[in-house]
Symmetry: C2
């Protein structure tokens, strides 16, 4: 975790020769009202960060680069694409929770399809959401946002499990939880040969199920809760 007392946390492409992206520079100068010499922390999104001082668009380095390795056990959530801004909300919350990999997929009952150019712009939008959320929650590692895939592709990944009402305890033995669309899983998805885990009693909205999956995996990885039974 990037320490909270060093000023705003901002990603740059190159820690050795840092240049703030236009939107980050304007945010810091206008909304956050940073002045020359004010502290900030620069990160590269892949585990490294360094203390710096604000100075126009090229901050001055003010310390040594620190590296925080990725957690040994990666946790991941795959969610069925749904309408509107719900995928963004899920990605924002999963990033804050420290989920390492996010795998959007098209379920049989996904109302939304992302194909061709739409898939690329959708993925780029989710990556922007993740970048903002990681800066705000001071996460030195950006989550990996995978390209949109099919249910067959995500359920074929090692460690995948499917979330459903009737499921058993979640476990870090299955650290990729797949959550379904509003309309529920279809018969082929129900028949897929992956473990089924539960997240709560009752039905959750699609984006809530994705967030709940991230919460449960993060709490297990932090050693705060264990699978029941």
């Amino acid at each position: 975790m990037v320490p909270s007392d060093g000023g705003p946390f901002v990603f740059v492409a190159d820690l050795a020769a840092p240049v703030l992206a236009d939107e980050d520079y304007h945010h810091l100068a206008k909304a956050r009202r940073l002045r020359s010499g004010d502290p900030l922390v620069l990160g590269d999104g892949v585990g490294r960060w360094v203390a710096a001082r604000f100075a126009n668009q090229q901050p001055e380095l003010a310390g040594d680069v620190v590296f925080q390795p990725r957690p040994t056990l990666a946790i991941a959530v795959g969610f069925a694409l749904v309408k509107g801004s719900k995928p963004e909300l899920a990605v924002q919350k999963l990033t804050e929770l420290g989920v390492d990999q996010i795998r959007p997929f098209v379920a049989a009952r996904s109302v939304v399809r992302w194909d061709g150019a739409r898939s690329a712009t959708g993925q780029a939008r989710l990556e922007r959401v993740a970048r903002e959320a990681a800066m705000q929650s001071r996460r030195p590692w950006l989550p990996e946002i995978c390209p949109v895939a099919s249910f067959g592709e995500v359920s074929g990944q090692p460690g995948a499990c499917r979330a459903d009402r009737c499921g058993g305890p979640p476990s870090l033995a299955f650290p990729l939880i797949l959550t379904g669309p509003e309309g529920g899983w279809d018969s082929d998805e129900l028949a897929a040969d992956v473990p089924v885990i539960g997240l709560s009693e009752g039905v959750l909205r699609a984006e809530t199920a994705a967030i709940a999956a991230g919460v449960v995996l993060a709490a297990m990885r932090a050693g705060l809760v264990l699978p029941a039974g």
Copy 2:
């Protein structure tokens, strides 16, 4: 849980002589396009529901009233008031998760204050959000939205605990989790004589911490996870 195959789930004031609220009637007739005779399920928000058929604003009963008792163990989340629509998002998700009681409070570092008339309208708004979320997630019990209180009042409730980064495992022995504002807890709140529990590694936004508290309590109550250690 209200069965999912009986048509839309709608709350009415009196199950014996049901009258749909204007907004619900218009939603069903216009957005959902229900016609006379289409099935729906009516609930009273305190555990009872009944099958019915759509017919203008006064549905016809089509079955016997079913009662689902409240879960024996109530789970509750208290969150520090924050700006914008974040309290609504927290209430929506906590309702879907089946949290029984929601206690907004003013922390020392809450940027927002709700006092006098603002407190009443704020509470009414959160109640509307809870009602919609309970209908959509087919929950026969509405959560109780408590009036805005002070940290001293909520932390003095039986079973209260405070969520913080350094906290230990959450537990159903402390089924009221209090989550703090963006700026963190102040020294008096840190010194309060309540257990401290953790929800994840790292810092969560205020509304994310509230949702995470609901997820962890709901998963424990469903028997899916246990406190570690």
